[in-house]
């Protein structure tokens, strides 16, 4: 039997069902989550103890011995109605994210699938916890809902491959109380082809690919993976980054080799790199020389499984004084490590380092616009999770040039006032 705080009982049932054990006896208790108070633990367990004994001794029911899973009624056509009715139907089914959706009609989904040469029934991956089949068609349905364009499909397919890679430890980050959000960095020629913002306000709303790709991935995680808020996705506070956290690296204005080349891809490849931060800290440097920039970055304690978002002008200053990405990484992690270790809550063997996670696993991405701010996006891992950044190559369909030409001018044109 499994003992969990009352707030995790539904989650435990979903987890057991996804592991083929739908009748696992789950007992809710009232101990404060991750409690460090002996009295609290004592009173919670005293209250639950008779039920614990009963859960281990009460004879099994027929259903517990030989469980029958309910066959889900999942017709391909979900609904017919007008715009408002479709939106309300999807919202009530728990298939949305709170914002209006574009109705995924047969025609819209077919058009979305023009963004790939893969057949509609091709299973790109099975997504946990439900092990839902991420077919090209299901990815396209969710992409339409999010307002994505067919030219975004190649990025989404690569992103689905990335989250399904066990190295991401998506199984933990997707559903964890820590409210981690997928952060996607796109590199290579596709950035320009589909106009992903790498400059000013790249992570703010206002650019279709930056917004729709992340939104679509969030819907895919929910509707294909089955991670629903408060049931399987147990993020305690939640994270607005789950709406979308997507940008491109500004390769043209970076003095260093781009992220994907650093990670073993060719410059002409297009890639998506993913990890799951839950803290975004922005700061300005104490001085705009190399030391001022680096010491200030170190003050935010970047460490393993963090991303350093550096604006092109800072990168240029550092490069002009001989700083490579590797030297920057080494310097800021060494300086920042002591403070970081002091403030980290201890769980499990936090000092252990996984052989899968190199000590230099600090991602450096050049992006952002005018100004003097830098950012550190913090995740966790290495020692206790064995996770790492994951990059996947983005495969383009044969009709790529014609497809991108259709959306060539689809960019915001702000009028000066």
């Amino acid at each position: 039997m499994l003992l969990a705080n009352h707030g995790f009982v539904d989650d435990a049932h979903s987890a057991a069902s996804s592991k083929n054990m739908p009748t696992l006896r789950v007992l809710g208790e009232s101990v404060t989550c991750e409690s460090t108070v002996a009295e609290d633990i004592k009173s919670g367990i005293d209250e639950a103890f008779d039920d614990i004994v009963a859960a281990l001794t009460r004879p099994l029911t027929e259903q517990e011995k030989s469980p029958q899973m309910k066959i889900e009624d999942a017709p391909r056509i979900a609904f017919k109605g007008n715009l408002t009715e479709v939106n309300q139907f999807f919202y009530r089914k728990g298939w949305g994210d709170g914002l209006p959706i574009i109705p995924p009609s047969e025609e819209a989904v077919a058009e979305m699938m023009e963004g790939t040469d893969l057949p509609a029934d091709h299973v790109v991956a099975k997504i946990i916890p439900r092990m839902g089949k991420a077919t090209v068609e299901k990815i396209a349905v969710n992409a339409v809902m999010a307002g994505a364009l067919p030219v975004h499909m190649p990025v989404l397919i690569a992103a689905v491959q990335a989250v399904a890679d066990p190295t991401t430890r998506f199984d933990t980050f997707e559903v964890s109380t820590g409210s981690w959000a997928p952060f996607l960095v796109v590199n290579g020629p596709i950035r320009k082809d589909i106009h992903i913002n790498s400059g000013s306000g790249a992570l703010s709303p206002g650019n279709l690919p930056n917004s729709a790709i992340g939104r679509a991935l969030g819907l895919i995680v929910k509707n294909i993976g089955g991670a629903r808020k408060g049931i399987e996705d147990m993020g305690t506070l939640g994270n607005p980054g789950k709406y979308s956290l997507v940008l491109a690296e500004n390769e043209e204005d970076s003095p260093w080799e781009p992220l994907h080349v650093e990670r073993g891809f060719k410059k002409e490849d297009s890639t998506v790199t993913i990890f799951f931060p839950n803290q975004h800290a922005y700061s300005i440097p104490r001085g705009t020389d190399a030391k001022g920039i680096l010491d200030s970055i170190a003050g935010l304690s970047p460490r393993i499984m963090n991303a350093l978002m550096m604006i092109p002008s800072h990168a240029e200053i550092l490069a002009s004084e001989g700083w490579t990405k590797s030297k920057v990484r080494e310097y800021v992690m060494k300086l920042g490590e002591a403070d970081s270790a002091k403030s980290r809550p201890q769980r499990g063997d936090a000092s252990a380092t996984s052989p899968n996670t190199p000590r230099d696993a600090l991602m450096i991405v050049v992006a952002g616009g005018a100004g003097t701010w830098f950012g550190v996006f913090k995740s966790t891992g290495g020692g206790i999770l064995g996770n790492d950044f994951v990059s996947k190559k983005i495969e383009l369909p044969k009709n790529w040039n014609e497809l991108t030409a259709k959306y060539e001018n689809l960019v915001p044109a702000y009028v000066r006032y």
Binding site: A4, M21, G44, I45, A74, K80, G81
Partner: protein, 128 residues
């Protein structure tokens, strides 16, 4: 007079045309157009569910496994459960399995299975 009638007729015609066009192109789009939409909810492979292990009739004299995950409350919860078990069933035995990380558990499935097989019953505490 004919001129006035002609202008009036043209006015009525124009009004009706605008009404029909707006009905066809605007009102219908906004509230009448019917969308037949595909489901975003994924299919899963059929699975054969497993039943849970038979229960013991009493915990007296039994070997009770206490599984502890990585979260910090799991161990003290189980320590208190153990104390309560020994108070109520003095001759029961307990055995811990500590999974200090999720990776550890994934890498030690055989060790875990061998431990669980030795137990008459197992209580899992996840610390949340």
């Amino acid at each position: 007079m004919r001129k006035i009638l002609f202008i009036a007729a043209m006015g009525i015609f124009a009004f009706m045309a605008i009404y029909v066009i707006s009905d066809a192109f605007f009102a219908k789009d906004a509230s009448e157009y019917q969308y037949e939409v595909l489901s975003p909810w994924a299919e899963v492979d059929p699975i054969t569910p497993r039943g849970i292990s038979p229960r013991v009739d009493t915990l007296a004299g039994k070997k009770i496994g206490l599984f502890v995950n990585m979260k910090r409350a799991a161990r003290p919860i189980q320590a208190y459960v153990e104390k309560k078990l020994k108070e109520r069933f003095p001759d029961c035995q307990t055995s811990y399995f500590d999974a200090p990380s999720q990776k550890y558990l994934a890498d030690n499935q055989e060790k875990y299975a061998a431990w669980a097989k030795e137990m008459d019953a197992v209580i899992t505490a996840v610390g949340d």
